[in-house]
Amino acid sequence: MNSLDIRVSELSHRYGRTHALQAIDLHIQPGEFVSLVGVSGCGKSTLMRLIAGLQTATEGGVWLNGQPPAAARAAKQIGWMAQQAALLPWRTVRQNVQLAQTINPQPGANTPNPDELLKMVGLSDFADAYPLTLSGGMQQRAALARTLATGTAVWLMDEPFAALDELTRELLAEELLQIWRQFRPTVLWITHNLHEAIRLSDRVVVLTPRPGAIAGEIAVPLPRPRDDTSAAFQALLRQARALLRQEVVHG
């Protein structure tokens, strides 16, 4: 899979008189896993929508492999996951995955078999189940399979596991990481959970409270799988927490 690079340059956004984002500059390498951390309401989700081109920024720009987001959307290179699984309740799990392939079909694209994707996320036995009969964790697994169905090059993930219980959340993150290592898409992972950010990503970007601006970045050079009890992990966690705290208190 050819993953894309994401370049965000001098990006500012306002909703009426509310200043949501302030001069964001961010470059994410192809295949890099970057977490965006910030307190609630700091514009994380807005930034993700701007990167996907679901909204247009008041100032500045976003490029995916040098192209505007609309081009990446048209080529179905963006995999989108949010806190709600947003499955269609009248379609079975398999039909939900298939839908990702039927919408905006790409001629000549190699489309993975939905059943194999469901196997990959551990939902083989539930291919014919309807989403509302599944647990929250299983619904997010289905959403993940659906994200994989389009053979995406970029994953934009807005706290996809935030509504799940701690253990399910950890397990799913682990599995997601394995799948990421297999396909190597470029990932922008939004979370307010520092621990999760450090466990998953190559780099953690901390946003200030509103208006969201980049407060700092922390590289995570630890090998995966990561031991969250190790001294190095704990040191990074402290460093990130200090950065976030300073901004919140300062703000």
């Binding site: 929508r49 963006i78 949010a82 709600q84 269609l88 309740p89 919408i103 905006n104 934009l156």
Partner: protein, 277 residues
Amino acid sequence: MAKENPQITQISQISADFFSASSAGSAVKKFGQKRVNLSGVGLLVGVFVVWETAVRLTDTPAYLFPAPTAVFRYLFSHLADLLLAGGVTLLEAVAGLVLGTAVGLALAVLITFWQQLEQGVMSLAILLKSTPIIAIAPILTIWLGFGPAPKVIVTALLTFFPVLINALTGFRSVDGALLDWLRSLNATPQEIFLQARWPGARPYLFAALRVVGPLALIGAVVAEWMGASSGLGRAMWLAYTNLNMPALFAAVFVLTGVSTAVYQTIVWLEKRFLFWE
């Protein structure tokens, strides 16, 4: 509703109460269909017994208030005629319901795709909906005669508005997260409509149909009162002008039966189409 003939409002209110009561009953059904059915039948029998006794004890003449036995005697002796009349009214009501639903849906789709049409379409729809149906019905009868056409149109006029409003609400009720996901795939407005808006609006549509189904029969009967060559409305009108109370009550009984059947059919369809709920 407010500007319509108060009598119709009352009738539709009564039927709405009646039907909401029966839908509340359907929730109880889960515990034991038989028990609920029996208690429903028991209640009905009870009402008839009290009614019969009261009429007999007070010696009320049948031209004022007929006893149930008198009504049923009339009903069974004129069964074929009444069923035929019921069939005619049912067909008119269903045709009007289909037309009204189609128009309501078409307008809702139109507004969903071209939002700039909303104000114009809604003003017109509200104007049509606010004109008392009791005033339109005679005009249509004079223009179109005693056949089914004015009945179908009156019924359609009575039914399109709730469908329009509910369909529009349904089309717009798509979950924001789902909409984001579809847009992230560059789904066209048509794809979004077919995959998300239309199936997602089905619960809203059925809610509208539950209201509009019994309303359709009222529309057809009211139009028949204005002049018809057949139908339950005509049967009622004839009974009324002849002060034949058992005949009038018999027609009402048949109408209630047909109306309940229409409502139950809609409920049955709803269960089939909203399987995921």
